[in-house]
Subunit: 504 residues, 4 copies
C-alpha cells in the first residue's frame, strides 16, 4: 500500500545511512529500533501479507464480507416491504383526490384552484356529500373511524381575521390581525344534519385566511396476504385546505393525508400460513451482533495504531530530536477503520429502529431507511479498500486521496462564484422566471443548468414531498495541477532583503 507505507519506507531507506555514519551508537538502542521497525512493518501489512508473515487469520476481512452479504440482504428485504407500504399510501392519496376533489384529473394538482365565490361553496359541498356517500362509492375498503360507538365527525374549519373591513375601492383598511377559527362538525350517516349545517355556513371572503376540512378514514392493506405477511390497519387523516393567504383572488386547494399504521385488532387468516415475523427480528439481531463485533475489532486496530504512533513519536523525540509531523501521525490511524466504525454504528441504529417498526412500536420508515441506507452505502464503498490490495486497482484510491485537498480548494473558489451568481440571479431574474423565484429553486436551477438542465423536474418533484432529504452532489474535480508557488516569492523577498541588510 503506497499511501500508508511511506513512513516505513523513508525510515528504512534513510536510517541505515545515518546509522552507518554513527557506528559508535549503543547496541541496546539498535535492538529497540529494530523491534519498532518490525512492529511498524507488520502494522502496515495487508491481511494477506500478515497471514503469510505470521499466520494471522484475516478474521476482520472475513467478517467484512459476511457483513456486506447480510446487510445488503436486510436492506433489500426492508426496501421491498417498504415499497409495498409506500405504494399503498400513494394510491390511497390518489383515490382520495379523485373521490373528494370536484373535477380533479391526474396531474392537475399544481394548478388546482378556484376563482369564484360560488365555486368555493360548491367544492366544499361536494366534499361533504362525497364523504356521506363514501361507503356506497369507494371500491377499496375505506370506512369511517369510530370513537367508541359514535363516528368521528368531519370537521369544517374556517379561519379569518377577527374583525375588519377592507374596501379596495376607497383604499380603506381596518383590520384586526388576530385570527379567529369557526368550526363545524358533520357526522356521517346523518344526511339531514349535513344539509342544515351547511345551510347557514357563510364565508367572509375578504377576511378569510383558509378553509380546512379534516376527517379520518380507516383502511386495511389486504395485499400483504399474497406475500404471506399479516395485513396492517391504516388510519388516514385527510386534510383538505382552501388556501387564501395571499388574497389574490385565487384559492388554492390542496389535499394531504397523514398516515398511522397499527396492528389490526381482530385478525383471522385462513388458506395461507403467514411467515413468522420473529424470524426477521432474529435476522436483525444477527446483524447487530455482526456489526458490534466488527466495531470491536476495528476499534482495537485503531487503538493499536495509536499506541504504535505514540511509541514512534516517543522514539523520534528521544533519538532523532525531531518532531513527528501531523501527516505522519495520521498515517497510523487508518481512515478505513473510521469509516467501518461509522457504517457499523449507522447500521446498528437502523436495525434497532427496524425491529421497533417490525413490532409496530414505531412507524418512522423514513429515519430508519436513512440509517440503513447510509450504513449499506459505506459498507459497499468499503469494498474499494479491498480492491486496493490488488496493485492495479489501487489507482482510484490513490488518485482520490491526492486530489482531495486540491478539489476542496477548487470547490471553495467555485463555490463563491456560484454563490455570487446565485444571489444575483435570484434578485434579478426572480421576478421573470419561476425557477429563480426563491433562493432554493434558484440554486437547484443553476446547478442543473451547469449539469445539463434536466435535473430540475426531478429536484422539483422531490422537494414537494419532503424537505428532510438532502442530496449532496459529488464535486467534479476538474484536473487542477498541484503546482503553485504563489506566495513563495514574497517570502523569499523578505529573506533576501534581510541577508542584504546584514551584508552591509
Amino acid at each position: 500500500m503506497e499511501e500508508s507505507g511511506d513512513v516505513y519506507d523513508v525510515y528504512n531507506i534513510n536510517s541505515p545511512t545515518s546509522w552507518e555514519e554513527h557506528q559508535h551508537q549503543k547496541r541496546d538502542d539498535h535492538v529497540d529500533v529494530d523491534c519498532l521497525r518490525r512492529k511498524i512493518k507488520f502494522f502496515f501489512m495487508n491481511p494477506c501479507e500478515k497471514y503469510h508473515a505470521r499466520g494471522r487469520k484475516p478474521w476482520k476481512l472475513v467478517l467484512q464480507f459476511v457483513k456486506i452479504v447480510i446487510v445488503t440482504t436486510q436492506l433489500v428485504s426492508f426496501g421491498l416491504s417498504n415499497q409495498m407500504v409506500v405504494t399503498f399510501k400513494e394510491e390511497n392519496l390518489l383515490t382520495f383526490k379523485h373521490l373528494f376533489l370536484k373535477d380533479f384529473s391526474d396531474g392537475d394538482m399544481d394548478t388546482y384552484a378556484v376563482y369564484r365565490q360560488a365555486d368555493v361553496y360548491e367544492h366544499v359541498r361536494y366534499i361533504i356529500t362525497q364523504f356521506g356517500l363514501l361507503h356506497n362509492n369507494t371500491v377499496g375498503n375505506h370506512e369511517y373511524d369510530k370513537n367508541g360507538s359514535a363516528y368521528t365527525p368531519l370537521s369544517l374549519c374556517h379561519e379569518f381575521y377577527r374583525n375588519g373591513s377592507i374596501y379596495s375601492g376607497t383604499e380603506t383598511i381596518d383590520i384586526d390581525a388576530e385570527v379567529d377559527t369557526e368550526c363545524l362538525n358533520i357526522y356521517p350517516m346523518s344526511p339531514l344534519t349535513q344539509h342544515d349545517a351547511l345551510q347557514d355556513f357563510k364565508l367572509h371572503f375578504k377576511r378569510m385566511l383558509s378553509v380546512k376540512v379534516t376527517f379520518v378514514l380507516k383502511a386495511i392493506n389486504v395485499q400483504t396476504v399474497q406475500y404471506r405477511e399479516m395485513p396492517d390497519c391504516y388510519d388516514f387523516t385527510v386534510l383538505i385546505t382552501f388556501d387564501n393567504q395571499v388574497h389574490s383572488g385565487r384559492i388554492k386547494i390542496d389535499l394531504d393525508t397523514d398516515v398511522s399504521i397499527n396492528e389490526c385488532d381482530n385478525l383471522k387468516l385462513s388458506g395461507v400460513s403467514p411467515r413468522k415475523s420473529y424470524l426477521t427480528v432474529v435476522f436483525d439481531c444477527l446483524i447487530i451482533i455482526t456489526c458490534m463485533s466488527s466495531v470491536a475489532l476495528c476499534t482495537r486496530s485503531v487503538c493499536k495504531g495509536i499506541r504504535l504512533m505514540l511509541e514512534y513519536v516517543h522514539h523520534s523525540n528521544k533519538h532523532c530530536d525531531r518532531e513527528v509531523p501531523w501527516s505522519d501521525k495520521l498515517e497510523f490511524v487508518s481512515g478505513w477503520y473510521i469509516m467501518i466504525i461509522i457504517s457499523d454504528t449507522l447500521t446498528i441504529i437502523g436495525s434497532i429502529l427496524k425491529i421497533e417498526i417490525q413490532t409496530k412500536v414505531l412507524t418512522s420508515y423514513d429515519v430508519c431507511s436513512i440509517f440503513l441506507g447510509m450504513g449499506t452505502m459505506f459498507v459497499w464503498i468499503g469494498v474499494i479498500r479491498y480492491m486496493g490490495y490488488f496493485r492495479k486497482y489501487n489507482i482510484l484510491i490513490v488518485t482520490l486521496r491526492t486530489a482531495f485537498p486540491n478539489v476542496i480548494r477548487f470547490v471553495c473558489c467555485a463555490g463563491i462564484i456560484y454563490l455570487s451568481y446565485l444571489l444575483c440571479g435570484w434578485i434579478v431574474l426572480g421576478p421573470y422566471h419561476e425557477k429563480f423565484r426563491s433562493l432554493d429553486t434558484g440554486s437547484e436551477c443553476l446547478f442543473s443548468l451547469i449539469n445539463g438542465d434536466d435535473m430540475f423536474p426531478t429536484f422539483k418533484n422531490m422537494k414537494q414531498k419532503s424537505r428532510l432529504i438532502l442530496t449532496t452532489p459529488s464535486s467534479n474535480s476538474s484536473r487542477v495541477e498541484p503546482r503553485h508557488q504563489s506566495c513563495r516569492s514574497s517570502c523569499r523577498s523578505v529573506q533576501t532583503c534581510q541577508s542584504l541588510e546584514s551584508t552591509d
Copy 2:
C-alpha cells in the same frame, strides 16, 4: 498488422544476433528454426502481403465482403416487412383501446383507472355493449372468431378471495386467502342474453382481486397487397383487466392483446401478381451457405494458428528452456476469427428462424430479429479489422486493445460506488420520488442522470413493452493513467528489511 506482428518482429530482430554469437550450434537445428520462422512470418501476414508473397488468393477477404452485402440486404428486407407487421399490431391495439375503453383518449393509459363502484359496472357494461356492436362500428375488418359454426364467446371473469369479511372500521378481518374465479360467457349477436347475464352480475368489492374480460377478434392485414405480398390473417386475443390487487380504492384498467398470425384459408387475389415467396427462402439459404463456408474457412485458420502455436511452444521448451507466456500464446489465436465465427453462427440461426417465419411455422419475430441483428452488427464491426490493414487507421484498434484492461478496472471500482449509491438512493429516496421507487427504475434514473438525464423516458417507455431486451451501454473510459506504484513500497520494505538483516 501492427498489433499482431510484434512476436514475429522481435523474433526477427533479436534472434540473429544471438544466433551469430553461438556459431557452434548444429546446422540441422538451424534449418528447423529458419523453417518455423518463415511459417510464423507468413502466418502473421495480412491477405495482401500473402498474395504478394506466395500468390495466395484472399478468398476469405472476398467472402467477408460478399457476406456483408447479402446479410445487410437480408436484414433490411426483414426489417421492412417486420415494420409493417408491427405497425399493424400497434394500430389495432390503439383501435381496441378507443373502441372498448370508455372515455379513453390518447396518452391516458398510465392514469386510466376508476375509483367508484358505479364506474366499474359502467365500464364493464360499455365493453360488452361495444363488443356486441362491433360489426356496425369498426372501420377496419375486425370480425368475431368462429369456433366451427358457433361464435367464440366473450368471457367475463371475476377473481376474489374465497370467503372473508373485512371491516376496516372495527379493524376486523376474517379472510380466506384462496382465490375463487367466477366466469360468465357472453355470445355476440344475441343482445337479450347479454342483458340478462349482466342483470345479476355483482362484484364483491372488498374481496375482489380483479375482473378480466377476454375475447378473440380476427383481422386481415390487407395492406400487404400494395407491396405485392400475400395478406396474412391475424387472431387478436384481447384481454382487459380491472386490477384491484392493492385494495387502495383505485382500480387500474389495462388493455392488452395477444396476436397469432396465420396464413389465410381462402385467398384469391386479382389485379396484382404477388411476389414469389420461395425466392426469399432461396436467398436465405444462400446466406446460410455463405456463412457456413465462412465458418469453415475461419475454423481452419484458427486450427492452423493453434497448431503453429504448439509447434512454437515445443520449440521454445526444447531449445531455449523457457516457458512461453500466455500473452504470446494468445497472439496465435486471432480474436477476429472468433468474432466472425460467432457472427456467422448467429446469422445462420437467425436465417433458419426467418425461413420458419416465412413459411408461417413460427411467429417469433423477436427472437429472430435478435439473432439477425446481433449477427449483422458483428459483421459490420468486423469491417474495422480490414481498416486496420491501412497503417493510419490502425490507431483506433490499438487504442481500444491497450485501453481495455484499464477500462475494465476503472469500471469495476466505479461500479461498486455506483451500486452503493443506488442501494442508498433506492431506500432513502424511493418513498419520495417515483423514479427511485424500484431498484431497476432507480438504476436507470441514476445512469441517465450521469449521462445527461434524458434517457429516462426512453428507458421507461421501452421497459413497459418488453423485458427481454437488455441494452448494455458502452463504458466511458475516462482517461486513467496507467502508472501506479501501489504496492511497490510494501515490496521494497520487505527487501530492505532483508538487506538490513544480512548486514548484521
Copy 3:
C-alpha cells in the same frame, strides 16, 4: 501567414549559408533560381505584406469586406420578408384545421383519428357544412375561388379496391388490387345540392383506401401594408385526407395546404406610399456584380498559382531531377480562393432566384433560401482567413487543417460502429420503441442519445415538414495534436534541391 509562409522563411534563412559555401556555381542558373524564389516569396505574402513590398493595393481584401456587408444585408432583408410569408401560411393552416376539423384542439394533430363508421360520416359532413358556411364564419378574408363566373367546387373523392369481399371471420379474401376512385363535386352557395349529394354517399369500409376532400380558398396578406409593401394574393388548396391504407380500424385524418402566391389583380392603396420594389432588384444586381468581380479576381489568383506551380515543377525536374510531391503542388492552390468562388457562385444563383421571386415569376422560397444561406455562411467563414493574418489567431486555422485527416479517419471507424449499432438497434428495438421504428428515426435517436438525447423532438418536428433539408452536424474533432509537418516537406525539397545542385 504561418502555414504558407514557411516555404519562404526557411528559404530565406538557410539558403544564404549554403549559397556562400558554394561560390563556384554558375551565374546564369543562379539568376533564374533567384527570380523564381522571389516570385514564390511574393506569391505567399499576405495582402498587407504585398502592399509594403510592391505597393500593390489590396483590392481583393476590400472587395471581400464590401461583399460581407451587402450579402448579409440582403440575407437579413430577405429573411424578414420570408418570415412574414411563413407566418401567414402557418397561421392559415392552423385556421383551416380549427375551422374544418371537428373537435380539433391545438397539438392534437399526431393523434387526430377516427375509429367508428358513424364518426367518419360525421367528420365528412362537418367539413362540407363548414365549407358552406365559410363566408359567415371566418374572421380572416378567405373567399371561395371563382373559375370565371362559377365557383370552384369542393371535391370529395373516395378511393377503394375495385372489387372484393373480405371476411376475416371465415378467413376469406377475394380482392382485386386495382384502385377505383369515385368523386363528388359540391358547389358552395347551394345548400340543397349539398344535402342531396351526401344523402347517397356511402363508403365501403372494408375496401376503402382513403377519402380525400379538396377545395380552393383565396386570401390576401393585408399585413404587408403596414411595412410599406404591396399585399399579395394567396391561393390555398386545402387537402383533407382520411387515410385507411393500413385497415387497422384507425382512420388517420390529415389536413394539408398547397399555397401559390400571385400579384393581386386590382390593387388600390391610399394613406401610405409603398416602397419601390425595383430598388430591391437593383440592390440584388449590385450583389451579383460584386460577386462576379470577386469570382474573376479569385480565378485570376488561382490561375497565377497554377502557372507558378508549373514553373516550379519544371524547374525542379530540370535542375534537381526529382518529382515534386502532390502535397507541395497543392500548396500553390489556396483553398480559401476555392471557397470564395463557391460562395460567390451560390450567392449569384440565390440572387437571381431572389429577383425572380421579387417579380413573382417563381415562388420557390426554399431553394432560394438554401442558396443564399449557404453563400452567406461561406462568406462569413471566409472572415476567419483574414483573422489568420494575425499571428495569435492563426492557431484555430492551423489546428483545423492538421486535424482534418485524422478526424476523417476517426469518423470512418466510428461511423462503421455507429452503422452496426444502428442496424442492430433498428431490428431489435424497433418493435418495442417508436423512436427505433424506422431506420431514419433510429439514426436520429442514436445520434441525439450520443449528444445528450434532447435533439430528438427538434429533429422529429422538423422532419414532418420537409425532407428537403439535410443538416450535417460538424464533426467533433476530439483532441488532435497540433504537430503538423504540412509545409515542411516543401521547404525541405527546395533546400535539398539546392544542396544537390551545390554538390555538382
Copy 4:
C-alpha cells in the same frame, strides 16, 4: 502574490550581485534606488505582511468583510419582500385570466385564440358580463376604481383600417392604410347600459386590426400583515387584446396587466404592531456610508499606486533611459480596487433606489434589483481576492488571468463560425421549425443545442416576460496552458536597467 511580487523578487535576487561588481557607483543614487525599492516592495505586500512589516492595521480588509455581511443581509431582505410582491402580482394576473377569459385553463395562453366571428362577439360579451359581476364573483378583494364619485368605466376600443373593400375572390383590394379607432365606455353597476351599448357593437372583420378592452381594478395586498409590514394598495390596469394584425383567420387573445403600487389612504391595523419602516431606511443609509468609505479607501490606494508608478517611470527614464512598457505600468493599478469601486457604486445607487421604493416614491423594483444584484455579485467575487493571499488558493486567479487573452481569441473565431451557422440556419431552417423562425430564437436554440438543448424552454419562458434582462453566459475556457510571462517583463526591465547603469 505571485503575479505582482515578481518585480520585487528578481530585483532583490539579482541586483546584489551586479551591485557588488560595481562598487564605484555613487552612494546618492543608491539611496534613491533603495528607497524606491522599499516603497515598491511595501506597495505590493498583502495586508497581513503590511501589518507585520509596519504595524499598519488592515482597515480595508475589515471593511470589506463588514460590507459583505451587511450587503448580503440587505439583498436577502429586499429579495424576500420583492418575492411577496411578485407572487401577489402573478397570482392576480392568473385570477384575471380565469375570471375574464372564456374557457381558459392553465397553460393555454400560447394557443388561446378564436377563429369564428360568433366566437369573437361571445368572448367580448363574456368579458363585459364578468366585469359587471365582479364584486359578486371574486374571492379576492378586487374592486372597481373610482374617479371621484363616479366609477372608472371599462373601455372597449376597435381599431380598423379607415376605409377599404377587400374581396379575395376577385382579388380586389381598395384600402386606406390609415388606422381609425372607435371606443365605447361601459360603466359598472349599470347593467342596462351594458346591454344597449353592445347591441349595436359591430366589428368590420375584414378591416379590423384589433379589439382592446381596458379597465382598472384595485386590490390590497393584505398578506403582508402576517409579516408585520403595512399592506400596500395596488391598481391593476387590465388590457385584453384581440389581435388580428395578420388577417389569417386567427385572432389571438392576450391578457396583460399594468401594476402601480401606492400607500393606502386609510389604514388602521390592530392586533399586531407593524415593524418600523424607518429602521430599514437607517440600515440602507448605513450601507451607503460603508460603501462610500470603501470607495474612498480604494480610490486612495489607486491614487497611491498611480503616484508610485509615475515615480518609477520617472526613475526609469532618468537612470536607464528606457520607456516602461504598458504592461508594467498596469501592474501598479490593481484591478481588484477598480472592481470594488464599481461594486460599491452599484450598491450605493441600488440602496438609494431602495430607499425611494421603501418610501413609495418609486416602484421600479426591476432597476433596483439589477443594481443591488450586480453590486452583491461583485462583492462576493471580490472574496476570491482574499483567498489569493493563501498560497494554494492562488491558482484559480492566476489561471483565469493568464487564460483570458487566449479565451477571448478563441471566442472571436468561434463567434464568427457561430454567426455564420446562425444566419444560414435562420434562413434555411426558419420556415420549417419554429425555433429558427426569428434570429433571436434561432440564436437561443443554437446556443442551447451546443450546451445540451434543454435551455430552450427556460430562455423562451423568460423572454416572453421581459426583454430587459440579458444573460451573458460565462465563456468556458477550455484547457489553457498555464504558462504566463505576465510580470516577467517588468522584472527584466528593472534588471536590464541596472546592468545598463553598471556599464556606465
